[in-house]
């Protein structure tokens, strides 16, 4: 069946290594930001860098970039659910 082969896209070693280098660079950046950036900025900076790293891992290491619509939508729904939990909780906690 042809459909069984969908999703078995081969990602070359070169691409994977490039992603790894980007992840190491972002790790170095996040440590630098934590040690040097003052105030509340480094909390959001650190989280933004973590989100970027997570995106790279999901897109390339976990092949999500090459998956079909079903898995992408499911990922979106899962992340949206998490975002709603977090958003509503903080809406309560911060404005009591």
């Amino acid at each position: 069946m042809a459909s069984e082969r969908t999703g078995s896209h081969i990602i070359g070693y070169g691409t994977l290594t490039a992603v790894w280098i980007a992840l190491l660079a972002l790790t170095a950046l996040t440590v630098w930001v934590a040690l040097n950036a003052p105030g509340i900025g480094h909390v959001w900076g650190s989280l933004a860098i973590a989100a970027a790293k997570g995106g790279l891992v999901i897109a390339f290491f976990m092949h999500m970039r090459y998956e079909g619509r079903l898995l992408r939508w499911l990922l979106f729904v899962a992340l949206l659910t998490l975002a709603i939990f977090i958003g509503l909780t903080f809406f309560d906690v911060l404005y009591r």
Partner: protein, 200 residues
């Protein structure tokens, strides 16, 4: 077995992803607890966070990212029929996982040696926010460590099955799903690292 077994690659992967989503929500819940208690005890969290070992955290981040690279390469290798490479790459992944857990052992030993563990006299005498921070730290990182242990065991089994030839280029759902689990372990650590080691 004489009857042909129908393999459903896409279904196996879908099932794995659904399980990974529950894992995301599990760790997401722990991060949510961290966030709400951080909003309640910002000063205590900052004081406790400064005692964390940035060196261990950074080293373990690099180790897990590298292990994740090798797990991803193993999936590429099996698709290209490189059975021996797969076994070496998975061996490297599991080795990184073992080094990660050894670092964790050293780090926790140092912390427990200084009287920092849930319910310790030092934390009981200190402000409540500090003991909440360390309880969440041990719970989240401990649960993550358990995942490293499970992932390492799973990938060892997968490597043995690749070696025996029961996982091959035509049917590698086990390897793919094992690698996905390992990447999730890496993904969770990518968020634990800034929250516990960096932002405070």
């Amino acid at each position: 077995m004489s009857h042909p077994t129908r393999k459903d690659h896409a279904g196996a992967k879908l099932g794995m992803w659904l399980f990974l989503f529950t894992e995301l929500l599990l760790f997401g819940g722990l991060f949510l607890l961290y966030g709400t208690y951080l909003a309640r005890y910002p000063r205590e969290f900052a004081a406790a966070g400064r005692e964390m070992h940035l060196g261990f955290g950074t080293a373990n981040t690099v180790i897990l990212i590298t292990s994740s690279l090798m797990a991803a390469m193993a999936v590429t290798a099996i698709q290209r029929n490189g059975r021996r490479q797969v076994v070496y790459l998975l061996g490297g992944t599991v080795l990184c996982g073992a080094v990660f857990l050894f670092n964790k052992y050293l780090e926790w030993s140092a912390e427990i040696g200084r009287g920092i563990y849930p319910g310790s006299p030092r934390l009981a005498a200190g402000p409540p926010g500090e003991s909440v921070f360390y309880s969440l730290y041990y719970l989240t990182v401990g649960l993550h460590g358990l995942h490293v242990l499970i992932g390492g065991t799973l990938l060892t089994v997968v490597a043995a099955r690749v070696g025996r030839g029961t996982i091959h280029a035509g049917d590698f759902a086990w390897l793919e799903n094992g690698a996905l689990y390992w990447h999730l372990v890496d993904l969770v650590w990518i968020f634990i690292f800034p929250l516990y080691y960096l932002v405070l």
